[in-house]
Symmetry: C2
Amino acid sequence: MTQRVPVIERILGANDRLAADNRARLDAAGVFSLNFLASPGAGKTSLVEQTVSRLAGRLRLAVIDGDIATSIDADRAAAAGATAVQINTGGECHLDAVMLQGALEQLDLSAIDLLIVENVGNLICPANFALGTHKSILVASIPEGDDKPYKYPGTYRGVDALVINKIDLLPYVKFDMDYFRRGVAALNPGLVTFPLSCRTGEGLEAWLDWVTACVRMK
Amino acid sequence: MTQRVPVIERILGANDRLAADNRARLDAAGVFSLNFLASPGAGKTSLVEQTVSRLAGRLRLAVIDGDIATSIDADRAAAAGATAVQINTGGECHLDAVMLQGALEQLDLSAIDLLIVENVGNLICPANFALGTHKSILVASIPEGDDKPYKYPGTYRGVDALVINKIDLLPYVKFDMDYFRRGVAALNPGLVTFPLSCRTGEGLEAWLDWVTACVRMK
């Protein structure tokens, strides 16, 4: 196993340089960008749909979707009103900076205010690969359970905001919000957090206001 | 990136040899073993708890839990009545055969009929690393959504049985069971499937009967 370590370090070094290039390109074009991280099925694509459809009148949006296979997510983002590009990783468990670089080449960045990158559904690997986006957003969800910050500390530690999706399911599952929030606070004190439901719309306004403020402050 | 490929191939080759060693060791001791795969929060640990507590009078059970961090899962398995060993991968996104080898050394295999290995919560990477266990079980869950077979084909293709957990949440979420099952059938025709709820107990008997039959037929 030990022989793998130096190779991965070289790859991560190259990835960080490409991520810096991506950031510079986004900044030069005046694009603000978010990287959505989550478990499979936490609701990244539903949050993309809600964000796109509700901000479409105010901001020019584009979405880059990462998946092992299919264009299901990009199709949903496009149907919600965004310019959408699908990346199929062909088995890779995360996006990396070179994949984002390729996707950026397919977009007219001068026509975009907000770019959302939806990473591969995975609570572990994507956190290790910078893309060059401005902020990372973790989408957690109630039915995943309240122990996830404790069990996936690396991802919780590295993000800039936390969405707690599917709060409409709180009456039907065992989820101790205080225990969950204590776990988050120990890893990422003061993390801005948005409990919401993409299904019912509850809590979405605070999230949309925050995103809009991020874009305007850029 | 291309330089990474041959190194990973060598690692996988070594992993397969160690997995074969693990299998031989389990067979020699008469232990039947299952490898549980799932997204974070699909309910692997709840299924371990239910399986252990309901089969404890009939079979001698042990559980090996893989996680990035904490012993939450092994503690739950032990509380349910199993001998439990926790593996903390320290960041690795999957178990591999050498980790299982180390955990097997901590167990008295002659005193075990059924060993459950609970892999790291991840729908992608664990499927690429054989452990030497006899059957792989995928635990899906209703709130994850009905598109997961289409988006994570590698994991759905490689398993020997599918548990569909949290069916008690069907009234509260959008989930087209026919669409889900068509996706599964295209990847893994005839896959034995157990819709159930670890929370309500519905459907558990069929799963427990199947596990018991697997152990007895060994």
